[in-house]
Subunit: 372 residues, 2 copies
C-alpha cells in the first residue's frame, strides 16, 4: 500500500505514505527548499532536522540552474545531497505570481523570467518533463492559479483548463515513466474552485475520474478569510478519496495546520516558518501536550525587538540543536542587528524544528487514539 | 612560562603561548570574529574548526552591542559561547579606517560612528577598559595607524604618540588588573615606524623599555610592496625579545604568512580567508608536504565562475566537514548565484579550514626540526 492509514480521530488521519525514497509519516510538513536549498540552512542542518520530505520549486529551478543543468547534475537529490523524498510544485504558482505573464492559452503559458526577462513557454507536458529532470518523487500537475476573489465564470473556465491540463499531465507522465515499474514518481492532482462548494465538487470529480496518487487542495491562503479557508478545506477533503493522501498547498500558521489536520488534511507546505525566520520572527512551543485542542499551544516573538536586547535566555532550551540551547536570544538579536547571515540560519532552524516537532506531536496524538 | 619555545628552524619558532584560557600552539592564525561572530559561520563550526584563539574588533563591539551591554552579557566569551582565547585589537585601526575622525590629540581620539554618526571619544585608558569589558585574553595597546606612504616627520611624531599611549595603556591595565593575580589578560605593544629601519628600532626599544607580554608589528600590509613588507618584518623581529610572542597584524596571503614565519613571526590575523570567501574565492591546498619551501603549495579559485557550473567535484574532498566533501563546486556556485547565505558559510568554512590546516602543517614541519 502506498498510503496506509494507521489511525483516525474524527476526520484526522495518521498514515504512512510510501514513495520510492521511503516512508513519510503523515500528517507531515514539507520544509521549502525553493532554489535547491532550504535558504540559509546547511545540508547537515536539513539532515538533522530530518523531515521525510521537502518541497522544491520547479519555476525557480527551471530558471536556475536550469533543466538541462539539473539533468547533468543527475537530478536535484544528488545535486543538493538529499536522500529522502522531494515534492515539486508544477511551476504554475510562481509563473502566475512572480513572472511577467505574456500569454496563457490551452497549450500552456508563455512568460518572462523575473530574473532576466528571458521568455519561456511551459505546457503541462513541459512541467512534467522538468519535474522528471529534477527527479522529484511527488510531481504536481500544472494548474492555473486564480487569485481570490474571482468572478464565478472565471473560476468555472479555469477549472475546465485545469482539468484538461491535469489529463495531459497524467497521460504524459504515464508514457514517460512506463519503464520505471515500481520506481515511478507519484502524480498529484490539484482541486481548484475557490471557496465555492459546487466548483470544488466539479473539480474533484473530474480529477478523481482521471485518477491520481494524491490530491492537493490548491487556490487557498490567497487572500480569503481563515474561516472561509477552513470551511473550504472541510468540504473539499470530504470530496476526496479516503485512501489517498490530501495535500493543502501553502498553508499555513501553526494553528491553521492543526485545524486542517482535524479536517482531514495529510500534507502541508508553507513559507511561513522559513520566510518569517529571516525577518527575526521565532515560533515557540508553549504547550506540546495540547496541540490538538487549544490554539494557544504556541507563541511567536520578534527577536530583533529592543525587549530582547538583554534576554539571555536560550533561543530554545529544549532544542536538539546545541546552538539553540547555548546561544541567547540577545545574541541572536545581535546577529540580526549586525546583519550576520548566521542569524538567518539560527532563526530558520528554530522555526523548522518547531514546525516539524508540532507535526510529530500531532502524529503522536493521533496514534494514541488507536491504542485506547 | 607563558611563552615557551619548543623548536626553531632559522628564525622560525614553534612555541606554546599560554593565556588564562589555555595553550595556543604557535605559529598560529586567528580567525576574525569582527562583530562577535566569524561572519556566516555557526558557533558549532567555529568549535569544530578548533582555532586556539580568535580575534574580535573593539571598534565594532563598542558600537554594537556596546561596552555596557557586553558587561551585562558577562563578556564576549559568554555572549558568543566561546571558551578559548580571544585577542582584541585596540579599536584604533577601525577608528582610523572606518570612522569619520573629528580630532586626534595626545588625550585620545574623537570620532563619529560609521553606522549612525554618533560621536565617541576613546583614550588609551578607554580602549583598555573596553577590552576588559569584552573580557579579552590578549589586549592590544591603542596606537595611531599611519597610512603608507607617509612623511618621515609624521612617522616620527606618530611613534612618540604611540609610545606615550602604550605607556598609559600599560599603567592603566596594571592598575585595573592588579587583583587578578595569575588570571590577568596579556597586553601586547605595537611596533610602528613604517618601512624605516631606524624608526622601527626606536619604536621597539621604547616599547621593550615599558615591557609587554608580546609585541605586534603594526602598520604593514597597508599598501607597501610585498618585498618591503617582508624585509620590514625581518629586521623588526630581530629587534624584539626572543622570549616573547611576535604578532604580525593583518597579514596576509598564505605564502606571506609562511614567509613571515620564516622571519620569526608567531601570530597572524587577516580578513583574507573570510572576506574573500564571501566573494566566492576558495583557497585550496595543493602540496601540504612542502609548505615551507615552495610558494605554489596552494591555489585559489573563483567558484562563482562559469567554468565551475558543471564541476561536480567536491568543494574539498579531504575536508573534515561532511558538507565540503559531499557538496560539489557546481552546487556551491549555484548557492552563490541564487544568493543563499549558506554559500557564504561553506566558502568561509573552506578557507578557514585551509588557513588553520596550513598553520598546523607549518607547526608540524617546525617540530620535525628538533626531532632530527
Amino acid at each position: 500500500m502506498s498510503f496506509q492509514i494507521i489511525s483516525k480521530k474524527g476526520l484526522a488521519r495518521r498514515a504512512d505514505l510510501t514513495t520510492r525514497k521511503g516512508v513519510i509519516k503523515t500528517p507531515c510538513f514539507m520544509p521549502i527548499a525553493t532554489k535547491g536549498n532550504v535558504k540559509a540552512l546547511s545540508n547537515e542542518d536539513l539532515i538533522a532536522l530530518n523531515p521525510e520530505i521537502i518541497l522544491s520549486n520547479t519555476y525557480h529551478l527551471m530558471l536556475r540552474p536550469g533543466q538541462a543543468e539539473l539533468e547533468k547534475y543527475g537530478g536535484l537529490h544528488q545535486f543538493m545531497h538529499w536522500q529522502k523524498s522531494i515534492l515539486t510544485d508544477s511551476g504554475g504558482f510562481q509563473v502566475f505570481s512572480l513572472a511577467k505573464i505574456r500569454k496563457i492559452n490551452e497549450d500552456g503559458v508563455t512568460f518572462n523570467s523575473h530574473i532576466n526577462g528571458k521568455e519561456y513557454f511551459m505546457s503541462p507536458e513541459d512541467s512534467m518533463d522538468i519535474q522528471l529532470s529534477i527527479g522529484s518523487d511527488i510531481i504536481m500537475v500544472l494548474d492555473e492559479c486564480v487569485e481570490l476573489p474571482a468572478k464565478r465564470e472565471y473560476l468555472e473556465k479555469s477549472i475546465e483548463l485545469t482539468t484538461a491540463w491535469a489529463k495531459r499531465c497524467r497521460n504524459h507522465l504515464n508514457t514517460k515513466t512506463e519503464h520505471l515499474d515500481a520506481n515511478k514518481p507519484k502524480l498529484f492532482g490539484i482541486v481548484q474552485g475557490g471557496t465555492e462548494r459546487d466548483l470544488r465538487e466539479k473539480s474533484a470529480e473530474q480529477l478523481k475520474a482521471i485518477g491520481f496518487e494524491g490530491y492537493a487542495i490548491g487556490g487557498l491562503a490567497v487572500g480569503e478569510s481563515e474561516e472561509d479557508m477552513l470551511s473550504t478545506v472541510e468540504f473539499t477533503t470530504n470530496l476526496l478519496p479516503e485512501d489517498k493522501p490530501r495535500y493543502l498547498m501553502g498553508v499555513g500558521y501553526p494553528h491553521q495546520i492543526v485545524e486542517a489536520v482535524k479536517r482531514g488534511v495529510d500534507m502541508f507546505d508553507c513559507v511561513i516558518p522559513t520566510r518569517e525566520a529571516r525577518h527575526g520572527r521565532l515560533y515557540i512551543m508553549e504547550n506540546e501536550e495540547h496541540i490538538m485542542d487549544r490554539r494557544d499551544f504556541y507563541s511567536a516573538i520578534n527577536v530583533t525587538g529592543e525587549k530582547f536586547k538583554f534576554d539571555l535566555s536560550p533561543i530554545n532550551a529544549k532544542s536538539k540543536f546545541p546552538e539553540l540551547r547555548n546561544l541567547s536570544k540577545a545574541y541572536l538579536r545581535h546577529l540580526f542587528v549586525v546583519e550576520d547571515p548566521q542569524a538567518l540560519r539560527l532563526a530558520t532552524l528554530n522555526n523548522l524544528e518547531f514546525y516539524l516537532g508540532m507535526m510529530e506531536s500531532i502524529r503522536t496524538e493521533l496514534e494514541k487514539v488507536t491504542n485506547n
